[in-house]
Symmetry: C2
DNA sequence: TTATGTGCAAAACATTTGCAGGAGT
DNA sequence: ACTCCTGCAAATGTTTTGCACATAA
């Protein structure tokens, strides 16, 4: 973790970043691997993991530590929150404001030096809501 | 997931719950396994996983989908938030209030049926802060 | 030229699952 | 008795790592 000086600009890195920037979903490492493989068929999954980790460490991308079994990655670095569908696992952005002092409040309520926070909403996405209705009818 | 009717009261279940209720930390499945094994040396790790999952499903305990590689479990079901130390991985409770309408806001900002949310703060715990100072001195 | 990065395969973890025997109800 | 549950071990899924070769600087 955390190494920046002399980070080389390789084809693999460029393409991983390009592909990640193309989508608004929040792909898992394996999904990024699939996307990238269409352009670089011989790339290794290890390379994808290593580079996503590296880019997240250097702040170029965001590693989402959301619920579910896999980590997800996001080319949008600007602070925002997420909703995760408990039915299909999809993750979307949520753009709402929370009270500005929330980190300070948390610091006061603990003996941590609070550096940041993340809010994850859980719910059911519109696609899965549709399917639920369909099931009810059948 | 989700099975309640005719759930038997076994020794394993009682002890898992007792041990979890004893601690204020938020142990991983493996840590619960270690705690329980002191009283039930022949219990299997699979049993611990199965029962933690089952209890979480029936709302007796909470499964925390926090950052890091492992899930954590909490005997306290009352809604509250968490801080995770980015240095040692420890998770503590945070008891603060957020705006009451936050789920409604999220619902409005998306097309999800929003069911809940979780806030995870990240920071450095007092123990690790102490060590940092020690390192600086050395 | 040389330190860093890559592909590949194996290893390391975390979690889940199949099954035969065991225990609540 | 009749399910449901457990221990065990094997399988699965995700992420990390070692190493020989490749490549950006």
């Amino acid at each position: 973790m955390e190494k920046l000086p002399g980070m080389r600009l390789t084809t693999q890195r460029q393409i991983i970043l390009e592909e990640l920037a193309k989508v608004t979903s929040h792909p898992t490492a394996n999904e990024v691997y699939d996307m990238v493989r269409k352009r670089l068929p011989r790339i290794g999954l290890g390379t994808v993991y290593r580079n996503l980790e590296l880019m997240a460490d250097s702040g170029i991308i965001l590693k989402l530590e959301v619920g579910g079994t896999q980590k997800r990655f996001d080319a949008t670095v600007a602070p925002h929150y997420h909703v995760r569908c408990i039915s299909c696992g999809k993750v979307d952005d949520i753009d709402i404001e929370v009270q500005a002092q929330i980190n300070a409040q948390a610091a006061q309520a603990s003996n941590y030096e609070v550096l940041g926070h993340h809010i994850e909403f859980t719910g059911i996405c519109s696609d899965c809501l549709g399917e639920e209705k369909a099931e009810t009818i059948n």
